[in-house]
């Protein structure tokens, strides 16, 4: 399978969207384009498994390399392993759902879908590139669409949030850039991930570049104390924008922390692992308690995202194979779950025109489909067995428990305890929204429309596929984690 097609399809879709004359055509073009991309991702998963089953053992599959800037030794080097395939699957599910959830966007429809597809192109490119320069390029491609999506189509204090998000993410990119330049200059003037992984990067460089890269990517994935863009950005964004931000964009950071920082610099990873664990435990706890205080549904999900993404970083910081597998599974699971959560919030907000939990109540009577979804994502978020959240978090805890010392144990126990807090805020929010007496003015509300149902079903398929039969994801991811672990030892 030629991986270039994964970048070309979004580009063609985006250009086709610009050509379309009326809004309906725009929507359908975006939907068909992202649908094709979903099929391609499933095809990629199938082809990947086939190749592995036929004994293909090389680290990266479907590799291809085209030289771009010869004088800098930069090339368009593409390739995937199990981790990237998992992330690509996640992206394509969220993109389809996001496009479907934006069916009612009437303001500058064409531009809206163009930016959505451009953003997804950045994510696809990021996950398949094996050249750090190209990877950085795609990381930054995704920043401006986010800025415009929030700033133009957002709500509330959108300008402030958009600015904050763009500047903080650019700050993260600047750190990543410095880290990459450090790697490039001290390790043989190459940006190639595979080549870099084969040479011993000087320990001194690792001590400087690891924190730069980890914090830089960490800002994208809400590393404490750089998480402050998350609540504002998510709550101000339009529905699809929040879905993309939490479902895809935050995962770019986690993937970068794992693939670039931890994989390439094992000594650095060991040196700084404890700091990572402390910070991510704080994020898990702080995020959970901060959520307790929120009354706005979007803020609830945004702060709980801080908490859940803390698990990703915790898994990476634990540096065991199982924990890293769990971290990747948590990325996929949280991406699907939070995208669905934001979709449901969008559906509710569109009808009730409020996101305040206290102003709702009894909505289960008028919109059974939507509220049932809310229940399901709520349970997924608090880690109920049978749904994806449980599988991922459980794997991280199992991996973390492999460390026998007190420090790791304490961190793990604390992280486990946060689940209780999660249960408190989720059950309270869901209960207040769904149960109780129905307000007069909500009597006439209608349930989800076809596009919303379809979006929800797409995401539900993902959540259930991981929750009920986690084996396939585990098998997909753990060989990739194994490779990283070999380098770490």
């Amino acid at each position: 399978m030629n991986l270039l097609i994964l970048i070309l399809v979004p580009i063609i879709t985006a250009l086709a969207v610009l050509m379309m004359r009326n809004n309906n055509l725009v929507r359908w073009t975006a939907f068909i384009g992202s649908g094709i991309q979903l099929l391609l991702s499933l095809g990629l998963y199938y082809a990947f498994n086939q190749a592995r089953a036929h004994g293909e053992t090389s680290q990266m599959l479907f590799e291809q390399k085209t030289e771009l800037f010869k004088s800098w030794n930069i090339s368009l080097h593409l390739g995937v392993d199990g981790i990237s395939v998992a992330m690509i699957l996640l992206t394509s599910f969220v993109v389809v759902a996001g496009v479907l959830m934006s069916w009612k966007v009437e303001k500058m429809t064409k531009e809206f879908f163009f930016l959505l597809i451009l953003l997804s192109m950045g994510a696809y490119g990021f996950f398949i590139s094996l050249d750090l320069f190209i990877l950085f390029f795609f990381l930054e491609v995704a920043v401006i669409p986010k800025y415009l999506l929030i700033g133009i189509w957002g709500s509330g204090k959108k300008e402030y949030s958009a600015n904050k998000l763009a500047l903080m993410l650019m700050g993260g990119s600047a750190l990543v850039l410095l880290g990459l330049l450090g790697l490039y200059l001290s390790a043989g003037k190459t940006f190639d991930l595979i080549q870099l992984s084969q040479i011993q990067i000087p320990v001194r460089t690792q001590m400087i570049c690891y924190p730069l890269l980890f914090v830089g990517f960490g800002i994208f994935t809400a590393l404490f104390p750089f998480h402050t863009w998350v609540p504002d950005g998510h709550s101000s964004a339009p529905t699809a924008g929040s879905m993309f931000l939490a479902g895809i964009s935050m995962k770019l950071g986690g993937y970068g922390c794992l693939r670039v920082a931890t994989y390439l610099m094992p000594e650095g990873a060991h040196e700084y692992a404890n700091i990572v664990i402390v910070l991510s435990t704080i994020a898990i706890f702080y995020g959970a308690f901060a959520t307790m205080m929120q009354t706005d549904l979007k803020y609830i999900n945004a702060y709980s995202s801080v908490s859940h993404c803390g698990f990703v970083l915790l898994g990476i910081g634990m540096l065991t194979k199982v924990a890293i597998t769990g971290a990747v599974m948590q990325m996929v699971s949280h991406g699907l779950m939070t995208a669905l959560f934001f979709a449901v919030i969008g559906m509710i907000y569109e009808r009730t025109h409020t996101r305040q939990v206290n102003e709702m109540g009894g909505l289960l009577k008028v919109m059974p489909f939507t509220i049932t979804l809310l229940f399901i994502v709520g349970f997924c978020s608090l880690g109920l067995p049978g749904l994806s959240g449980f599988v991922a978090e459980m794997t991280i805890f199992m991996g973390a428990w492999e460390h026998p010392d007190t420090f790791h144990r304490v961190a793990t126990v604390l992280a486990c305890m946060s689940i209780v807090v999660t249960a408190v805020y989720i059950l309270r929010a869901v209960g207040k929204t769904a149960m109780g007496p129905l307000k007069e003015e909500y009597n006439h509300l209608t349930d989800a429309t076809w596009n919303e149902k379809l979006a929800a079903i797409v995401l539900m398929i993902g959540i259930l596929a991981i929750g009920l039969a986690p084996g396939w994801l585990n098998q997909l991811v753990s060989p990739g984690a194994e490779v990283i672990m070999q380098k770490l030892k």
């Binding site: 771009l68 800037f69 010869k70 004088s71 800098w72 930069i74 320069f133 390029f137 795609f138 930054e140 491609v141 920043v143 401006i144 800025y147 415009l148 700033g151 133009i152 959108k158 300008e159 958009a162 600015n163 763009a166 500047l167 650019m170 700050g171 600047a174 750190l175 850039l177 410095l178 330049l181 450090g182 490039y184 200059l185």
Partner: protein, 466 residues
């Protein structure tokens, strides 16, 4: 004699166009519109022929030298002038003294060509004057506006001052080395105090022309007061030419002083970036805003210059090529809006997208390119400057440059936000764009997007650099 025509082809072409314009002016037969069309065609022909039959060699006892890299640099400037002639079509059509305008502009361009090709300090001084004095006359081209005269006055006084400094440097240099020839100077540099002082004076003259902080104070006022076509010529073409010469002078002639000028360039670069950025944050007038942002861009060019390597030269040329597209597009949009509505404040741009989507996209694209955001070419340009600077330089320096990229993003986004997000009760009305202008904008837009993606361009520039 044959050599003369082949080697000096770019200069002779410009001289020929200047003479054609003068004859056309004598004839008085042409209306402004058709004269402009003739000029545009001539400039297009000039630009196209700039790619052909470029030779390497020197003339007049090494006073004049040329090679493939210099031909490329000259042709980049040719392209920039062509774009200016296209973008401001409607302003030129209303312009009272059209042929004089272009005679002056092309004379300045001729000066820059000689500047790039100069192989001797005297030649260097003459051509830098030729490149400056006509521009001062151009700055005064709004004959009925007081600010325009003020701008011209400021420009001519500051240039005179910098010329004085330059001449002083040249005479000291001659006194200590006994030669004016670029090729002979490096061997005679012995590091005596007087010689270093001469070098600092020469360096200062460059800093004046490139508006490097602390020699930048004339820039914003001149940019604001001049007609916008002149402003864009000053900020793009003039600055580009000086940067080309600056880099080759430092690398070739003053290579023995590498350690000295490295620290000078580094300090000035940091100061320039920070000052340019901080002042740009507070500007309300779009021309002043672009002026300060272009000062900050010079700081980034200095990062590339500090690298003292072939990669440094290449990335500076590459960056300036991209900078021409981006800055001309930005100035073009600002100029068009100012010409039709007289609005120059950033607040007036609020809601521009509703009335002028095409102009808004071009403006956004150029600002993103100036800020260095992918997928625009500015991303590659800036990154290569930083990478080549990091290859030989201090890491902290590159860190400061990276922080400045974030600051600059903030103010570029301020304009984007005004254009796309803010609402306005009386937005800029719909502007009908002249076809020529539209072509130029599309060309700029394509340049901004494609220069980065066509990666072989960088490699082929590098092949020309020697």
């Amino acid at each position: 004699m044959n050599d003369f025509f082949i080697l000096m082809k770019p200069e002779l072409m410009i001289v020929a166009i200047i003479f054609i314009l003068l004859f056309l002016k004598l004839g008085k037969g042409l209306s402004n519109n058709s004269l402009l069309l003739v000029i545009q065609i001539l400039l297009l022909w000039n630009f196209a022929s700039g790619f052909l039959m470029n030779a390497t060699g020197h003339l007049f006892n090494d006073m004049y030298q040329t090679n493939a890299m210099m031909s490329l640099q000259k042709n980049i400037l040719n392209g920039g002038v062509l774009l200016i002639a296209l973008i401001f079509t409607e302003w030129f059509q209303k312009c009272e003294h059209l042929s004089e305008f272009f005679v002056l502009m092309l004379s300045a361009l001729l000066g820059m060509f000689f500047l790039i090709s100069s192989g001797n300090l005297l030649m260097f001084y003459l051509s830098i004057e030729l490149a400056t004095i006509p521009v001062a006359a151009l700055a005064n081209f709004h004959l009925d506006k007081k600010v325009s005269s003020e701008a011209a006055m400021k420009m001519i006084l500051s240039s005179a001052f910098s010329s004085g400094v330059l001449l002083f440097g040249i005479s000291l240099m001659y006194g200590t080395t006994g030669t004016l020839n670029f090729a002979a100077i490096p061997a005679l540099l012995d590091g005596s105090a007087l010689q270093i002082m001469a070098f600092v004076f020469l360096f200062t003259a460059f800093a004046f022309k490139m508006s490097i902080v602390p020699f930048h104070l004339w820039t914003a006022d001149v940019y604001e007061g001049s007609p916008i076509a002149v402003t864009s010529f000053l900020s793009v073409i003039s600055k580009g030419a000086i940067a080309f010469v600056f880099i080759s002078t430092l690398y070739k002639v003053f290579q023995p002083y590498h350690t000295i000028w490295y620290s000078m360039v580094m300090v000035l670069s940091i100061v320039t970036m920070i000052t340019g950025n901080l002042f740009a944050l507070r500007q309300q007038n779009i021309k002043r805003f672009l002026a300060f942002s272009s000062i900050a861009q010079v700081g980034f060019i200095l990062v590339g210059i500090s690298s003292n390597s072939i990669q440094g030269t290449t990335s500076v040329i590459y960056f300036i090529l991209i900078y021409i597209f981006s800055n001309l597009a930005a100035f073009g949009v600002a100029g068009l809006i100012s010409f039709f509505t007289g609005k120059e404040r950033i607040d007036d741009y609020k809601g521009l997208y509703r009335t002028n989507p095409f102009l808004s996209w071009i403006l956004a694209l150029s600002l993103f390119s100036l800020a260095g955001i992918p997928p625009t070419a500015g991303f590659f340009g800036k990154l290569f400057l930083l990478t080549s600077g990091a290859a030989t330089g201090s890491y902290l320096f590159i860190g400061i440059a990276a922080i400045n990229m974030i600051i600059s993003l903030y103010y570029y986004l301020r304009v984007v936000r005004a254009v796309f997000m803010d609402t306005n009760e009386s937005p800029v009305e719909k502007i009908t764009i002249h076809p020529m202008t539209r072509i130029a904008f599309i060309f700029c837009g394509a340049g901004i997007v494609l220069t980065g993606i066509m990666s072989w361009l960088y490699d082929s520039i590098k092949a020309l650099v020697n």
